[in-house]
């Protein structure tokens, strides 16, 4: 028994030591370039699509499609309340495990540079030219990710835009010598390599981590608390329904019923299952029972109650 425990212990220590080694090796460039916060903003930018999708899907999980949607008077308020609650949870996650993963990704990729490249890059970012470039880059990324999770801005979007523009002007109006320094570094092998790592690898990997973690927020321990917070903030949102939204039913001129069942997996629309039932088909009546009085050309939402009965009422 002792030997396996010892082996596990040694492997764990070796892994930790390796992570420390990468972190130590990358530290000068990571700290000098503010690589971590840049990675966070890039990840936020990459997760934007998933964020917007998640907000809509989560609202539909609080009350089904058909009961409400973007046109409902409570929708926008509920979306803002949900965004606030999810962003707060995401910031907590960033302080914990999510932040650790991001740091590891950054360390792993920046440590792939040779020590002399790391030293050269770190030295550049300590110069006035390097700091001006870094400041502009950071502000561009932060402004671009404004309102997205993992950071809660303390300044207005307008203020951040103004600050970004000031940083741009400062960069554009550097003394000639410093402008040359910025160009030379960014077009050097090390500069291009760093930008490639940041824009391609880091952005992709951190984006993936954030997309995945965002989806998990509503399904973890925080999910119910977030749902409660949204309901408390938006009393006029529709109540939860025991019926589950399935999709739509459309009646053709010949009374054939076209059913489109939506398959949502992991808070996203994964695909649809289309079925058609002609008036003489075995299951035409099964579907028609759920949409009483439907007329040719009409389209209705379709729901299923816990007993399995179909209905057009949410």
């Amino acid at each position: 028994m002792r030997f396996p425990l010892l082996t596990i212990g040694l492997v764990a220590m070796a892994a930790a030591a390796h992570a420390d080694y990468l972190g130590d090796r990358a530290r000068p460039i990571v700290e000098a370039s503010h690589a971590e916060i840049r990675a966070v903003h890039l990840g936020r930018h990459m997760a934007r699509g998933r964020w917007e999708e998640l907000l809509d899907e989560t609202l539909y999980s609080l009350a089904p499609k058909g009961k409400w949607g973007p046109d409902h008077p409570a929708w926008a308020t509920a979306r803002a309340a949900l965004a606030k609650a999810l962003r707060e949870a995401s910031v907590t996650a960033l302080r914990g495990e999510t932040g650790t993963w991001i740091r590891k990704v950054v360390d792993e990729h920046y440590s792939s540079l040779e020590p002399d490249e790391i030293a050269r890059a770190a030295a550049y970012y300590e110069t006035p030219a390097g700091r001006t470039f870094r400041d502009f880059r950071e502000k561009v990324l932060a402004e671009n990710a404004y309102g997205l999770p993992y950071v809660i801005e303390t300044k207005s979007h307008e203020t951040m835009r103004t600050e970004m523009e000031e940083a741009r002007q400062k960069l554009l109006n550097l003394p000639d010598e410093q402008t040359s320094q910025v160009y030379e570094f960014n077009q050097s092998k090390t500069g291009e390599l760093l930008m490639g790592i940041e824009n391609n690898i880091i952005a992709d990997v951190i984006g993936n981590i954030m997309r995945s973690e965002l989806g998990a927020l509503m399904h973890g321990d925080d999910g119910e608390a977030i749902a409660r917070a949204v309901r408390a903030a938006v009393p006029n949102m529709p109540p939860q329904s025991p019926r589950v939204y399935l999709g739509t039913v459309t009646m053709r001129p010949d009374r054939t019923l076209d059913v489109v069942i939506e398959y949502h997996d992991g808070d996203r629309l994964a695909g649809t299952y289309p079925f058609s039932y002609a008036p003489n088909a075995l299951h035409w009546q099964d579907v028609a029972n759920g949409v009483p009085g439907i007329q040719p050309g009409e389209k209705r939402f379709l729901y299923r109650d816990p007993q399995g009965r179909l209905s057009d009422k949410p």
Binding site: V244, Y263, H264, Y273, F275, L282, H283, D286, Q307, G308
Partner: protein, 236 residues
């Protein structure tokens, strides 16, 4: 004694020992499960058995059997596979769309593309196997109550196949039987003063379905009357 002779003696000894070790008996794991009927009478029971398996990662293999006894029963997973392979052979399985996000599965013999069917499947009788299909669009997207203890997983579908004698009374019912070469056909329903009744006739046996509120209850199989046998074209 040479090394070769020692090795041979050890191998023979191991073989004799393996042969001599009595096969472990089946354990009755039925408990409170709602088991399907047996065509020969009574309910099926579920049996389990662990056996030594040198090549298995766990060191043992786990077997399940349902029927009147463990040894004479059949493997539920194989039974479900055979039922769905029957639907595949009859061209019915492929009329349903491929299940989204399920990929393809190999069961060692063939590559299976799991299907999404607008039905729930319930095995209500064994020997011969009778499967009731209940129309339920929720099955396509895995919506609805599902008791994993009352179901058998299968790579053929994006849902498990249930077993038992109770079926929710929502959605048109069909049934099929691979043993009787019967493709899915509607359950004959009659509505009278006594309520709704359904009937499935297969290989000389009649399964009566009685509606109690929101559920159908499948009664024990009875010998079919002559007219019923002729009407359904029993394989008996």
């Amino acid at each position: 004694m040479s090394t070769r002779a020692t090795l041979l003696a050890l191998l023979i000894g191991a073989a004799v020992l393996a042969w001599a070790v009595p096969a472990r008996a089946w354990d009755d794991a039925t408990g409170s499960l709602d088991m399907p009927w047996l065509g020969g009478g009574g309910r099926a029971r579920l049996f389990t058995k662990k056996s030594f398996c040198m090549m298995c990662p766990t060191g043992y293999s786990f077997h399940r059997s349902w029927g009147a006894a463990g040894a004479s029963g059949s493997d539920p997973y194989s039974e479900v596979g055979a039922a769905l392979r029957f639907l595949k052979k009859k061209g019915i399985l492929d009329t349903w769309p491929e299940a989204i996000g399920e990929g393809s599965v190999s069961d060692g013999k063939e590559t299976i593309d799991p299907r999404a069917a607008p039905y729930r499947f319930t095995i209500v009788m064994l020997q011969p196997t009778v499967v009731v299909m209940r129309f339920d669009l929720g099955a396509l997207v895995k919506v609805g109550d599902f008791d994993p203890d009352q179901s058998i997983g299968t790579p053929w579908l994006n849902q498990g196949v249930e077993f038992g004698t109770r079926v929710p009374a929502t959605g048109t019912l069909l049934w099929f039987s691979p043993d009787a070469d019967q493709v899915p056909t509607p359950v004959a329903i009659t509505r009278g003063e006594q309520g709704e009744h359904g009937e499935i006739v297969v290989q000389g046996k009649t399964l009566a379905l009685e509606r109690h509120g929101d559920a159908w209850s499948v009664r024990a199989p009875q010998r079919a009357t002559g007219s019923a046998q002729r009407a359904i074209g029993s394989a008996d």
